[in-house]
Symmetry: C2
Subunit: 324 residues, 2 copies
């Protein structure tokens, strides 16, 4: 049983990251209106969120700029359009995927950019490239996180090796990323323990990015914070790929630091997220995501099932169960 | 951190209770078709659920039998219509609310009834009447649980006194009931600790009935089972009052006892629950339930908000926040 003090008190080291545009952008190909993005920015200023992730720094020679909204690419001038000089306490983040980002050219020095934080997303087997990207970003003056994806089917030995390598890099935060939404709180506790061991050894922080396939995104996030994880990702109305993420409004309601406010989050969800859903943008927990979660699989088949409007859930289960 | 063994192994003492008709009946005034109820019964036989709760034994001089479906009253002959002699391992349960049940006349001897288990639902301040009902049911040969509702705003001292009184009664199981869906897993752990202390002292079992206002119904249920709670309530597609319950399909996917099977649950949800939802029956997590959960209030205003089709969430928040 965790200490009550962890529930009633608060750790001033906790940082909340709004990933709505980035993970939510995976739902609507990053086509958000400027009004949406501006209101989101101002909402984050009011809720006390610490970082706002605008999207990806995707390689334009890999992804057609005419087939995605601008937050797939996060040009500095597009961010400036929203935040001006951003003379606020809210820091700006973008994600750079290993293998899908021309980081050497597309990420300029921090002193010339509105961006504060580069989040390097990697699989375990691409850690060496991730380290190069981390070094590049750190050399350019950015804060850097490393988000190790799809760890629910990683071997602990590999994970330890990766964290030991990353520990020696200039990265600031190791992120636990439950890409498949397959992990139970007990497993989060165990994984957080491993991450925290290496974070302590190398003077890093640990972060948590959860998915809601098993209706555990929020539960796993608060489990993690109870285990010593400081950086917490949320998205408004839990908008994110497939089953979605940890709902920002739940997270802000839970956190006890007086700087966080849930009411502006409720206002934003009412004005924008309910509208997106009413217009037919679909994300969030459903039976097909439960199945990929239970089977510890990538949600891509469930996303396809959803897109095709299929309702033959038990047939689908047999299809994917045979893939295990 | 809980022991890994609790995750990979299983406790043979765990019992799963399907509360779909009873808690789900609060959503549709107990108007389920006979086909639904028969399929549910046969599904429970296949999934390995231990108990199926058919509904309430409500007093007919308090509730108009023409204004509710038959599972509000659970006449023995109506249950027999579904289960025949029920020569199966699935046991039959009904709920009897303190103050809303003519238990002396409406509950006959177990030997003459298809029912196996009486679940006595009470508030803390009606424990003395609950004890009378427990004794009545036990004398008539039934297994008995006592479901203490709305404990999220109870004082621990009162709760301890109640458990000490109940411990001396012939009740078999003390139920933790998070009626408002307001409790976090850390609080569940603490409360389970208190319940288990008295359960051990008096040779009883402990049960968990969760609500999903904070998207924690499943998380709190598996937290509880990790804390030594044996009796676990679920409902298919989480159908239940307001924000709903712990989804049976999540629970069955989690439990490791080979007797439980998730596939028939998926089939039932596909055939019946998705249809109910498509026909306009509304339950489950939404922003208004998050608010009553956060504020530790009864969900009745949120249910009203939902029924009226209101979408002014932030106005509603101000209304109920002023009631605290």
């Amino acid at each position: 049983m965790k200490e009550l003090s962890k529930l009633m008190g608060y750790r001033s080291d906790v940082r909340v990251v709004d990933a709505t545009l980035r993970d939510g952008g995976l739902v609507n190909d990053f086509y958000f209106t400027d009004e949406f993005v501006k209101d989101l920015y101002h909402t984050n200023l009011k809720t006390g969120v610490d970082y706002m992730e605008f999207g990806y720094k995707a390689a334009k020679d890999m992804f057609d700029v005419d087939k995605f909204g601008k937050w797939k690419f996060c040009n500095d001038e597009d961010i400036r359009e929203i935040v001006g000089d951003n003379n606020t306490n809210l820091k700006i983040a973008v994600m750079a995927d290993v293998g899908r980002c021309n980081y050497k050219t597309d990420i300029v020095n921090r002193s010339e950019s509105p961006i504060d934080l580069i989040r390097v997303a990697t699989y375990l087997h691409t850690i060496p490239t991730a380290v190069e990207m981390i070094e590049d970003a750190a050399n350019k003056g950015y804060e850097v996180t490393c988000n190790i994806m799809a760890i629910s089917n990683a071997q602990e030995g590999d994970l330890r090796e990766a964290l030991d390598v990353l520990g020696k890099s200039p990265v600031n935060v190791f992120y636990i990323v439950d890409s498949y939404g397959s992990l139970y709180p007990e497993q989060i506790a165990r994984i957080a323990d491993v991450y925290c061991e290496f974070a302590e050894k190398y003077g890093k922080k640990v972060g948590m990015h959860a998915h809601n396939n098993l209706q555990l995104a929020f539960a796993n996030t608060i489990e993690a914070v109870g285990d010593g994880v400081d950086w917490l990702d949320g998205t408004y109305a839990a908008m994110g790929r497939g089953a979605g993420n940890c709902a920002m409004e739940l997270l802000l309601g839970f956190l006890k630091n007086p700087k966080y406010n849930v009411y502006p989050a409720i206002q934003f969800v009412e004005k924008h997220m309910k509208k997106l859903q009413a217009e037919g943008t679909v994300w969030g927990y459903d039976l097909q995501y439960l199945m990929t979660g239970l089977l510890n699989q990538h949600p891509r088949t469930a996303i396809q099932f959803t897109k095709e409007g299929r309702t033959d859930y038990s047939e689908y289960y047999k299809e994917i169960e045979a893939q295990v």
